[in-house]
């Protein structure tokens, strides 16, 4: 089925379905992923078609979910684990950081940990506390993990295929507020490498770098800026560990200005690393310091304040103006 228009949630669903079909070792596990199909319906219909042995409703215990997934991986399975919401990954953090991330190295390469952890993340859906967070930096800092986030349906499909095929643990952050955004998905295409960034809009004045839900925001900002006569290049980073600095560098060498945008708090967010490293790589090219737009150093606010908290088009354009003013 080449070139079908699909929502991101559906694309992930199709990708999981494909993986379950193709490889009998693939498992889907998590809270409510079975009959309910997950609270976002991303696993809808999978248990019906593949049975309770492959699509597993787990007890309500995230450390247990990841810990048993590690055991299953050691037995040769390839578990795809769902964490119901971003804010509920922390009970599993110990298993992820001290076990999942390090076990391959601990074993001098003798065991592999092909575990995918799916985390619907980010805000903008009017939810209560713990349902709108962007903790990606807390995973990207940790060696042994790979961290990615798709921004569109085609990437959602293909990056999930690649994450499952990868012999390393991959934290797959799903931009939950974009779940219903539709896009073409060519399921016969040859996808770009999992950890490559992609220039999704070309421009000459300033580069915007983003991933996941903020790519759309940046594209909108670029469209708005065009009306003001500013030409913005938008890079979809796609991967937060590793980060494709070559693609970012190439863009910055051209535009000489960079603004990094993410929902996560700015302080020690992934933008800090991009700023530090791109400044090192492009010291003589930059006309302005790398600027960052993101969340504040504050708990994610109640829903009625999230529009103020989240980086929107205006905050992005404000940063663009500041970058251009240097």
């Amino acid at each position: 089925m080449a070139d079908e228009k699909m929502a991101i949630a559906k694309a992930i669903n199709e990708s999981l379905r494909k993986a379950l079909e193709t490889d009998p070792k693939v498992l889907v596990m998590g809270e409510d992923v079975g009959k309910l199909g997950g609270v976002f319906r991303v696993t809808d219909g999978l248990q019906k078609d593949f049975g309770e042995a492959r699509v597993i409703d787990t007890p309500l215990a995230e450390s247990g979910i990841v810990g048993t997934a590690i055991g299953l991986a050691l037995r040769g399975y390839r578990p795809v684990v769902e964490i119901q919401f971003d804010g509920f990954v922390f009970p599993a953090y110990d298993q992820i950081v001290t076990q999942l991330a390090k076990m391959h190295a601990r074993a001098l390469g003798k065991v592999k940990l092909p575990v995918v952890i799916r985390i619907p993340y980010g805000g903008g859906i009017g939810a209560v506390e713990h349902h709108s967070e962007s903790p990606e930096a807390l995973f990207a800092h940790v060696a042994g993990l790979k961290v990615v986030s798709p921004s569109n349906a085609a990437d959602a499909y293909w990056m999930m295929q690649q994450a499952i095929a990868c012999d390393d643990p991959v934290i797959y952050f799903e931009p939950k507020r974009r779940y219903w955004d539709k896009g073409e998905v060519d399921t016969t295409a040859i996808p770009a490498p999992l950890h490559s960034a992609r220039v999704v809009r070309e421009g000459g004045d300033v580069t915007l770098a983003a991933y996941g839900p903020m790519v759309k925001t940046c594209l909108e900002a670029a469209a708005a800026a065009e009306e003001e006569g500013k030409s913005l290049e938008v890079v979809d980073m796609r991967s937060m560990s590793p980060i494709d600095f070559d693609t970012l560098q190439a863009s910055v060498v051209k535009t000489r200005r960079l603004v990094v945008v993410h929902e996560a708090p700015v302080f020690l967010g992934t933008g800090a690393e991009v700023a530090a490293r791109i400044t090192e790589r492009c010291f003589y090219h930059l006309e302005a310091p790398v600027l960052r737009v993101g969340g504040f150093h504050a708990p994610y606010p109640p829903a009625r304040l999230e529009e103020d908290y989240l980086p929107g088009l205006d905050r992005v354009l404000d940063a663009v103006d500041r970058a251009l003013a240097f």
Partner: protein
Amino acid sequence: MSVKSTAARSSRGGAKRRGAAAGREPELVQLLTPEGDRVQHSEYSIDLTPDELRGLYRDMVLTRRFDAEAITLQRQGELGLWASLLGQEAAQIGSGRATRSDDYVFPTYREHGVAWCRGVDPLNLLGMFRGVNNGGWDPNENNFHLYTIVIGSQALHATGYAMGVAKDGADSAVIAYFGDGASSQGDVAEAFTFAAVYNAPVVFFCQNNQWAISEPTERQTRVPIYQRAAGFGFPGVRVDGNDVLACLAVTRAALERARRGEGPMLVEAFTYRMGAHTTSDDATRYRTADERAEWEAKDPIARLQAYLTKEGLADDEFYAALDAESEALAKRVRDGVRAMPNPDPMAIFENVYADGHALVDEERAQFAAYQASFADGEGH
């Protein structure tokens, strides 16, 4: 020499993979049958005045009315979400009324009935569901902690608080609420361990409403939850969670026990979540109408009403007055919610720290300037 293994007995003696709970139901403490008849229990008894009985009835009715109004408000877009307690009124009012004002309560996100008993204004509960705050009351005003969303966390807070009560030499007790799903969380097990080891005056009150979103209790355990306590060294008991008298009696006894310095206890209130998990959930995807109907017959309010009626403890006047009171409450809640102002955006930066933080100060100032730039017409 014989093996000392109670587990070997209980499990080998018939536990099936899909849970003993489904097969041989263990007995549960009941003082009022679904038909509204009083029964006696060898260990737990209660003697209430007609006023007290009517009071419990009133609590349950008002709580249910409030809950229904909240659902309506959610449907109307006034709330972002609501977690209904429908069906769990007896468990919450019974246990809530068992607490003393100096006791301290740690709820989940569904304890609206307990909040009611503690004197928290229902309007305050709605703030987080409307999205104007993440918990809008002063916990110390009514010794009722904020709602906790991360499943199981509060069991540890309750235990620590209880350790503090014991240190202070106070005779207060602490009660921690959680659900059947929560029983799987490591934090709850660790709370059991700390409570036992320090003999903390805490009652663990588990409302087993049969479901954790779409997962039935057998996804969490294959034996009844109350039995979990024994292995940590304290008693557990299952109570009919739709029987407000039994819930009151058992919780009161557990709290008294804690006060006497006899340590923690686990109460499993066997009840049912009559509604969906929250207003975002569609329960028809995973459970049958039959199951719901079965529990409908055990309704906590109907059963107390039957008793009041049989005993002639409440007349039409009482019911009419309560109806009016219910509608007045609903109206107050409705009007109150609609009048709730959106918070000032600058509130984002408030209370992040008690003693201040340079980065927050910097970001607050930047954001204020940014906001001002629009007012000045300098923005985009």
